[in-house]
C-alpha cells in the first residue's frame, strides 16, 4: 500500500467521523436526545480539560495501555504455544477446539469476585482477566493458521533439506502469520474490553476507573471523553501491531 493511498483512507475515515459527530451535535441541539444522556461532541474539549486538571488524562491512559499490553503479551505467550500443540497433535486439536470456541462466549468478567478473592484488588486481577479473555482467540487463530499452511510450501522446505526447527521458523510460522496476527488483534480488543470492565467494576486502575468515577460524579461529558481515550488506546495498539506484522512479514 502506498503512503498516498493510506493517507487518503485516513482522511476519508476522519471525514466520516466528523459527519457522525455533526449529526450527533444536531440531534442533541434539536432536543431529540437529552444532553444529560449523551454529551454533545462540542463539550468534549472542555471535558478533556477537566480530565487533565484532575490528573485523569495521562496516568490512566498509560495504566490501561500497559495492562492491555501485559495481558495480550501474556495471552500470546500461552496461546501461541497452545495453538501450536493443538495443531501438532490433531487429536487434541479436534478434541479441544469446540470447547475453546464455546468457552470464548463465556462472560468471564462476571466472575470478577472470584478473581478479587484470588488475586486481590490490584493489577494482578485486571491483567489476569484480560489475558484469560485474550488467549482463546490466539489459540484458535494460531491453530487455524498453521492448518492453513499450503503443503507445497512445506514440501519446498523439505526439498531444500531444512531441519525441523528451521522449517517451522522459516516457512510454517511466516506462512501462518496473517492468521496469528488476526488472533492477536482480536485478543487485544478482548483484553482491553475486559480490563476496562473490571476497572469499572472494582473502581481500580486506569480508564475504566475514570469512566466509573465520572459516571458517579455525573460528569457526563468527561465520562464520554474517557471512553474516547479508550478508543484511542485500541487505535494505538492496533497500528503498532500492524507495524509489527509488516516488519516481520511484509506481504
Amino acid at each position: 500500500m502506498t503512503a498516498e493511498r493510506h493517507g487518503r483512507a485516513v482522511a476519508a475515515g476522519l471525514v466520516g467521523l466528523a459527519a457522525v459527530a455533526a449529526l450527533l451535535e444536531f440531534v442533541i441541539r434539536a432536543g431529540l436526545v437529552s444532553p444529560l444522556i449523551v454529551a454533545p461532541p462540542s463539550s468534549l474539549p472542555q471535558a478533556f480539560a477537566l480530565l487533565a486538571r484532575e490528573g485523569y488524562l495521562v496516568a490512566p491512559f498509560l495504566i490501561t495501555m500497559a495492562q492491555a499490553f501485559a495481558a495480550t503479551a501474556l495471552a500470546a505467550a500461552v496461546g501461541v504455544p497452545l495453538g501450536f500443540i493443538l495443531w501438532r497433535r490433531p487429536l487434541l486439536g479436534r478434541a479441544y477446539e469446540p470447547w475453546l470456541g464455546a468457552a470464548f462466549a463465556a462472560p468471564l468478567i462476571l466472575l470478577y469476585p472470584l478473581f478479587l478473592v484470588i488475586f486481590g484488588r490490584g493489577y494482578a486481577t485486571t491483567v489476569v482477566v484480560g489475558a484469560l479473555a485474550a488467549f482463546i482467540p490466539i489459540v484458535l487463530q494460531t491453530r487455524a493458521g498453521l492448518l492453513g499452511v499450503p503443503p507445497v510450501l512445506i514440501n519446498v522446505g523439505r526439498s531444500f533439506h531444512l531441519s525441523e526447527p528451521r522449517l517451522l521458523w522459516k516457512i510454517i510460522f511466516p506462512a501462518a502469520a496473517p492468521a496469528i496476527f488476526t488472533g492477536l488483534r482480536l485478543a487485544l480488543i478482548y483484553a482491553l474490553v475486559n480490563i476496562i470492565g473490571i476497572e469499572f467494576l472494582i473502581d481500580f486502575g486506569g480508564l475504566g476507573r475514570v469512566v466509573s468515577q465520572m459516571y458517579f460524579q455525573y460528569q457526563i461529558p468527561a465520562m464520554y471523553a474517557a471512553i474516547v481515550l479508550i478508543v484511542i488506546v485500541s487505535l494505538v495498539f492496533l497500528s503498532l501491531l500492524q507495524r509489527l506484522e509488516t516488519w516481520w512479514r511484509p506481504r
Partner: protein
C-alpha cells in the same frame, strides 16, 4: 557436473478405504547426464507420485533411485524440485525467495545476493528482484520458483507440471526460456507433464505412462534438431511426434475416463 538419474523398478501402493491402490508398478527409467526427459501420462497414472518418490518426499516404496550409480533415500541435495502448485513464499521478495536455499545453507549474505541476482537475470526477471510474488503474474512467479530451485545448484532438476496453471501461450514461451536455461546449465532434467506439445518441444525423450497402475508404456526418442524454440510446433516432424504420442496416450486416457466416469467418482 555429473548427474545421471536412474529409477529402478519402483512400485508404490497407497492404502485407501477401498483397499490397497497400486499407484506405480515396476517403473524403471534412466535419464543420462545432461539429458532432458519428459514423463507424460493421463491423470491418475501416478506421475506425481513418481515425482514425490524420486524427490524423496514420498516414503515406503519398493525399488531404488540412483544418482550417479549410488542409491539415495529421502530428499537429496543433488535433486532440485519445482512444484506444480503456487510455491513462492509470499512474504519474501523475488530476490529473497531465490536466496532462500542459499541462506538456509548458511552462505554469506553477499554471495547469496550475487548468485540470486544472476539467477534473476537468467530467468528473465530483471527489474523485479524487489517485487513480492503477489505483484507478479503466474508465469513470473513460476519462474521465480524455478530460479529458487536452480539457486541450490542441484545436479538434477525435477519438475512436476510446472506450467500447468498457465495458459498455452505463456506455456510455450516459458518452454523457450526453460530450454535456454537448460542449454546454459546443461542440467539433467526430468519433467512430468500432461501436455504433449510441451513434452515434444522440450525433450530428448518422452516416456509415456499407462493409466493406473502406472507403468511405462513406451519410450519415444525426440530426434528434432537442437537448439529448438517454440516455432518448432509448426514443423511436420513435430506434428508426427505429437500424433505418435497421442496414439499411445489416447488409449490410456480413455481407460482412465472409463474407470472414473460411469460411477461418477474419482479419487
Amino acid at each position: 557436473m555429473p548427474g545421471a538419474l536412474v529409477v529402478e523398478n519402483i512400485s508404490k501402493r497407497f492404502a485407501t478405504s477401498a483397499g490397497a491402490l497400486a499407484a506405480l508398478e515396476g517403473v524403471s527409467l534412466a535419464v543420462p547426464q545432461g539429458r532432458f526427459v519428459s514423463i507424460i501420462g493421463p491423470s491418475g497414472c501416478g506421475k506425481s507420485t513418481l515425482f514425490g518418490v524420486v524427490g524423496g518426499l514420498v516414503p515406503d516404496y519398493e525399488g531404488r533411485v540412483l544418482i550417479d550409480g549410488a542409491p539415495v533415500h529421502g530428499t537429496h541435495d543433488d535433486i532440485g524440485m519445482v512444484f506444480q502448485e503456487e510455491s513462492t513464499f509470499p512474504w519474501l521478495t523475488v530476490l529473497e525467495n531465490i536466496m532462500f536455499p542459499l541462506d538456509a545453507r548458511g552462505m554469506a549474505r553477499n554471495e547469496c545476493r550475487e548468485r540470486a541476482e544472476r539467477l534473476v537475470h537468467l530467468v528473465g526477471l530483471d527489474g523485479f528482484g524487489n517485487s513480492y510474488p503477489a505483484e507478479l503474474s503466474g508465469g513470473m512467479r513460476q519462474r521465480t520458483a524455478i530460479a529458487r530451485t536452480l539457486a541450490a545448484e542441484p545436479k538434477i532438476l525435477l519438475m512436476d507440471e510446472p506450467f500447468a496453471a498457465l495458459d498455452e501461450q505463456t506455456r510455450l514461451l516459458l518452454g523457450d526460456k526453460l530450454l535456454q536455461i537448460w542449454r546454459e546449465l546443461a542440467q539433467t532434467t526430468l519433467l512430468i507433464t500432461h501436455s504433449i506439445t510441451e513434452a515434444v518441444q522440450l525433450s530428448d525423450e518422452v516416456v509415456v505412462m499407462t493409466y493406473r497402475p502406472g507403468r511405462i508404456k513406451r519410450v519415444i526418442p525426440i530426434d528434432l534438431p537442437r537448439p529448438r524454440s517454440s516455432e518448432i510446433v509448426e514443423s511436420a516432424a513435430f506434428g508426427r511426434l505429437v500424433g505418435t504420442i497421442w496414439h499411445d496416450l489416447r488409449e490410456e486416457a480413455l481407460r482412465g475416463l472409463a474407470q472414473t466416469e460411469p460411477q461418477g467418482v474419482s479419487h
